[in-house]
Symmetry: C2
Subunit: 107 residues, 2 copies
């Protein structure tokens, strides 16, 4: 099964980055109950004060899509949306590297 990953750049409204980060960290905590979510990490930009990034790794794109229908995820999105000025998400296909278990070679 081909794993799925994402990198997403969130631009928070002025002064709202930390609040947004906390909401996303709570969402990350809820992912502990979803084995298909292998990683969901929140990062602050070192150079842009209103920007944070989320990097995710999932066992499949389908598992990621299914998680978006989860009540906790929907609640977190609803909570976060008013704080977001922009989001740029990129869907990716992880192919290997350190700290990554590949189920099957796929590139």
């Amino acid at each position: 099964m081909q794993k799925f990953s994402m990198v997403a750049k969130f631009t928070a409204k002025a002064g709202e980055r930390d609040t947004l980060a906390n909401i996303l960290l709570e969402a990350a905590h809820a992912m502990h109950a979803i084995p298909a979510c292998e990683t969901y990490v929140v990062h602050l930009s070192e150079t842009e004060p209103d920007v944070l990034w989320v990097t995710e790794m999932w066992t499949s794109a389908e598992a990621h899509a299914a998680s978006l229908a989860q009540p906790e995820t929907r609640a977190a999105i609803a909570q976060a949306m008013p704080l977001i000025a922009g989001v740029d998400g990129t869907r990716l296909r992880p192919v290997g590297g350190k700290g990554f278990q590949l189920d099957d070679t796929a590139h």
Copy 2:
């Protein structure tokens, strides 16, 4: 100690993405000898045929900087450069999430 992470978008010259990916995967393999490199994963863009991303997690920014002076890293960079049309790297500060061990709270 504050951990350090990066996301980098590489745009390969036309037709060179797979070759570039293989060079970066070799670089990732060399990272197994560098404990301070916790993750170094290569991802292919699902939407842009010439684009791949690398996501990295390090125990510190200093450890990451030191790795750039390693002969293996310099060789990989020299090998990769002719295949690269553009690279956009973003320096980040990871603050938490699933699949991430935080040494100290830092945001």
